[in-house]
């Protein structure tokens, strides 16, 4: 693992507003971008990845299938690289196909791409390694490992026919508008009890069946760690709004999604692997105000207010910033 810098989440603060974890692309990035950079066209219709039954019956198909198996059942097929109870598909639904669930077909065509906050080029491999290190609380497979090759092959195959360098509809997770009221842990708890506990358990511990987690844990030792993208309240709210409760995606209001995301991420989980021995120091180095790492919900709410004001001000100067060619869509790791 030589490019550890590439994993730096919420890396360098670039200014009061464009701190490391802020959502992309911040206005500052737009200004800093070379004049020649053109906005990337957004593909209109919903992309349809190839059907599973179309996996070719040859050596290439075998690699696709292994990649799929690793993605869906990481616990079994890549267990040496996993340190919690999760599978990749737990957060990238429908085996990495579902729009608004960071689908792999949309990801594959956006990399390599430059990430301002780390000063590095993100690649599809570095994104996959990031998810192993943080979301799976494990250790990333080497670039030339059989696991990495199979995963990249699966990503590639799902993107068959997708336009390279185009940000497609459904890419990444939803961006949920800042809620009218400050996100609130107590309201989030009530939402959790009524909408989530039936599957994820009274204490977010998930439910096991037939040896593994049937419903994955949302916090605690078997869940994603404090460096994972999902630990950010804004990212979690976007995932939850579009995808949860399972089968009922899109039914929670923006406010409810923020409240329950805040509640979920106010619990303990495995330490950030970049932990330096001091929470405050690790926070200052790697975490911005969009998470509860070493921060109180009140501090997060106050930061949200500030961001909203700044965003409104920025909007007056510039209309909605668009995805820029060659700029990484990554929000974290």
């Amino acid at each position: 693992m030589n490019e550890s810098l590439g994993y730096l989440l919420c890396g360098l603060a670039l200014g009061a507003m464009v701190s490391g974890c802020d959502r992309p692309p911040p206005p500052a990035t737009t200004e800093a971008a070379p004049a020649a950079t053109a906005p990337v066209a957004v593909a209109p219709a919903r992309f349809a990845p190839p059907a599973e039954s179309d996996i070719p019956e040859n050596e290439f198909g075998e690699a696709v299938l292994l990649g799929k198996n690793i993605f869906v059942n990481t616990q079994q097929y890549a267990k040496d690289f996993v340190g919690n109870g999760m599978n990749c598909a737990n957060c990238h639904l429908d085996n990495g196909r579902k729009a608004d669930s960071a689908p792999l077909w949309a990801a594959y065509v956006l990399y390599p791409a430059y990430r301002q906050k780390t000063g590095q080029i993100d690649t599809i491999q570095s994104r996959i390694q990031g998810c192993f290190l943080y979301s799976m609380n494990g250790k990333p497979p080497a670039l030339d490992s059989k696991e990495m090759t199979a995963l990249v092959t699966y990503h590639y195959w799902l993107a068959k026919g997708a336009p390279t360098g185009v940000k497609m509809t459904g890419q990444g997770y939803l961006k949920v508008a800042k809620p009218a009221q400050k996100p609130d842990v107590a309201r989030g708890r009530a939402i959790y009890e009524n909408n989530c506990a039936i599957c994820h358990g009274a204490n977010g511990e998930g439910i096991k069946a037939r040896g593994g987690y049937a419903f994955p844990p949302l916090w605690g030792k078997d869940s994603f760690n404090w460096g994972a993208g999902m630990h950010r309240v804004d990212t979690a709210a976007g995932f939850i709004q579009a995808n949860m409760p399972y089968g009922l995606g899109g039914t929670l209001s923006d406010q409810e999604a923020w409240d329950v995301a805040l509640f979920m991420n106010s619990h303990e989980r495995p330490q950030d692997p970049r932990f330096s021995g001091s929470v405050a120091q690790t926070r200052d180095q790697h975490h911005d105000e969009n998470c509860l790492y070493g921060r109180t919900p009140e501090e997060l709410a106050a930061a949200l207010e500030k961001q909203a004001e700044a965003a409104t001000a920025a909007e007056k100067i510039k209309p909605a910033a668009e995805q820029l060619e060659g700029i990484s869509p990554a929000v974290s790791h």
Binding site: D94, I198, C199, R210, A214, F215, Y246, G247, G249
Partner: protein, 213 residues
């Protein structure tokens, strides 16, 4: 009702042969007033009856079992046969019959031979769903083998197809409204009638754990 008699006999034999456990409670074998003996329709072993659409009760988690009886009583689940039976059951009847059926081995469903293409379609729905229409896979909520996830998600594998069809239709039409958070209604109302039959046929072919997958 010859087949019913046979079921009872079979059930009794299975009981006698395999389990030296306590005798089945009287509510199951004899009934009590309007609560007709459960065994006459569901069997002592809980195998149910495919043609009549009497569901398999074997290995239902007691919490799900008790919830269904309570829902029949409350009217969020309605059935002309079961509602009056449920109404006549006491708390103790529910507890003892639930415990009895939870302890029975899940029988291998006597699946009627169906078109392999239909079975394949049903299997696809059960395992992968149809996310292009926001239909999640059955097996995400009912476990990878369809045998349920306690306490809230009942087993659906090895169930008689006619019964599974009737329940999915009941949710689709709004006749059954007892599912938590409308989790099942949301699934059922997106399925076509053909899909309902296909998935029900598939589920009936996978009886015991590890069977037919």
């Amino acid at each position: 009702m010859r087949s019913t008699t046979r079921l009872i006999l079979m059930g009794t034999m299975v009981m006698a042969a395999s389990i030296a456990a306590a005798a089945p409670p009287a509510i199951v074998t004899q009934g009590k007033g309007a609560a007709i003996a459960c065994a006459s329709c569901h069997g002592v072993d809980g195998a149910g009856n495919a043609q009549a659409g009497f569901p398999v009760l074997a290995q239902l988690p007691p919490a799900h079992f008790a919830k269904q009886i309570a829902d029949f009583k409350a009217g969020t689940r309605v059935n002309p046969i079961m509602t009056p039976i449920a109404m006549a059951m006491s708390a103790e009847d529910i507890e003892s019959s639930a415990r009895h059926y939870a302890g029975q081995a899940r029988p291998k469903a006597g699946a009627a031979p169906a078109d392999p293409a239909v079975i394949a379609r049903g299997k696809q729905l059960a395992i992968n769903g149809a996310w292009d229409r926001d239909v999640p896979p059955c097996f995400k909520c009912h476990a990878v083998d369809g045998l349920g996830i306690e306490p809230a998600f009942p087993p659906i594998a090895g169930q008689h197809a006619a019964y599974t069809v009737s329940q999915l239709q009941a949710w689709k039409t709004g006749a059954r409204t007892n599912d938590p958070q409308t989790l099942m209604k949301t699934v059922a109302e997106k399925l076509t009638d053909d899909e309902i039959h296909a998935v029900a046929d598939y589920l009936a072919t996978i009886g015991t754990p590890g069977e037919g997958k």
